[in-house]
Symmetry: C2
Subunit: 193 residues, 2 copies
């Protein structure tokens, strides 16, 4: 038995002990998808050339793992193995945290009421691209936020620290520090294409 | 004389008194562009069907304003007039704040070192779209952050308040509150297409 959920620690820890003798649970998570949800949002090439993370434990039967791995390879995915702890931090950082940031940003701009009209009216392409993930399914993201609580809080605090550093640079008008902060980020970002 | 800079308060306040008698400064800002900078990043349809904000003051000559307005209309823009204070808050919210958030997010994820490899390696399409603006020119954004300091600090604090609210919902595992937070944001976001 396998799954495709976005959080692995709690799912694997809960499912593994429930398996009947001779059967195995292999946690899985394809890193693919859009801001749309549900079966209707699927398309034939969704998993091609995308990573799929599997999270075997010490109890995982090697043949069961190989079978699940083969299934994802047939779907076109590049399978990567890691433990559930690392999976939940990887996804906390590159997926869950950005969603929390985007949801917060859109709520903030949408709720800002110190001008005589709603500021969202002036959003251009950059804002729309940046906030597209805030259109994601609230129920799915509620469940992810609840299930990946510990890793997500860690990532939210880590981000908040960087954001607070940047705020201090803006407040003090530190040109040199601001340019270094932005250049460092651009360096990371350009590195992932 | 006009300009196309991203901040208007400081530019208009500085330039207006310098104009020789019989000449006028009209602050302008076309809301168009990509994460690329420089003349080479221009294309013929860049301004078509995009808003261009002009920020006349009480001292602005109506004919000078009409001339600049006409120039942007010929380029295909929809001209909007507002004062510099509002302009700097509008852009602080829908452009400058998202850039600060994106730069901070990429620095945070890039600098995270509690796993055995860099987490950016696992970034998928969502993260790439979300952080594209962190590839923007660090020098230009340094100047914007310095020039729009007051409005930007206001927006950064406003965002940080929403983000802290969300953190509390995650920490307490408040399913109902989380779903409402995400649904509110999705509502705003879906509204801008």
């Amino acid at each position: 038995m396998t799954d495709g959920g976005s959080v692995k620690g709690e799912i694997v820890a809960s499912c593994e002990p429930l398996m009947p003798p001779g059967t195995f649970f292999v946690g899985g998570h394809p890193i693919a998808g859009t801001e749309k949800s549900g079966v209707e949002a699927a398309f034939a090439t969704l998993y091609q050339h995308r990573r799929c993370i599997l999270t075997p434990t010490e109890a995982t039967n090697p043949e069961a793992l190989a079978k699940v791995e083969r299934m994802w390879q047939i779907a076109g995915s590049d399978v990567v193995l890691m433990d559930t702890f690392k999976h939940d931090r990887v996804m906390g950082a590159v997926s869950h945290l950005p969603h929390m940031v985007a949801y917060s940003l859109v709520n903030a701009v949408g709720a800002y009421d110190r001008c005589d009209e709603n500021l969202l009216k002036y959003s251009a392409g950059g804002f729309r691209d940046f906030t597209r993930i805030a259109s994601s399914d609230p129920v799915m993201w509620r469940d992810i936020a609840v299930m990946n609580r510990d890793a997500l809080l860690e990532m939210m605090d880590f981000f908040a620290g960087w954001f607070a550093d940047l705020r201090r640079l803006v407040e003090s008008g530190d040109s040199r520090g601001l340019e270094q902060f932005f250049a460092s980020s651009k360096g990371y970002r350009d590195g992932i294409g």
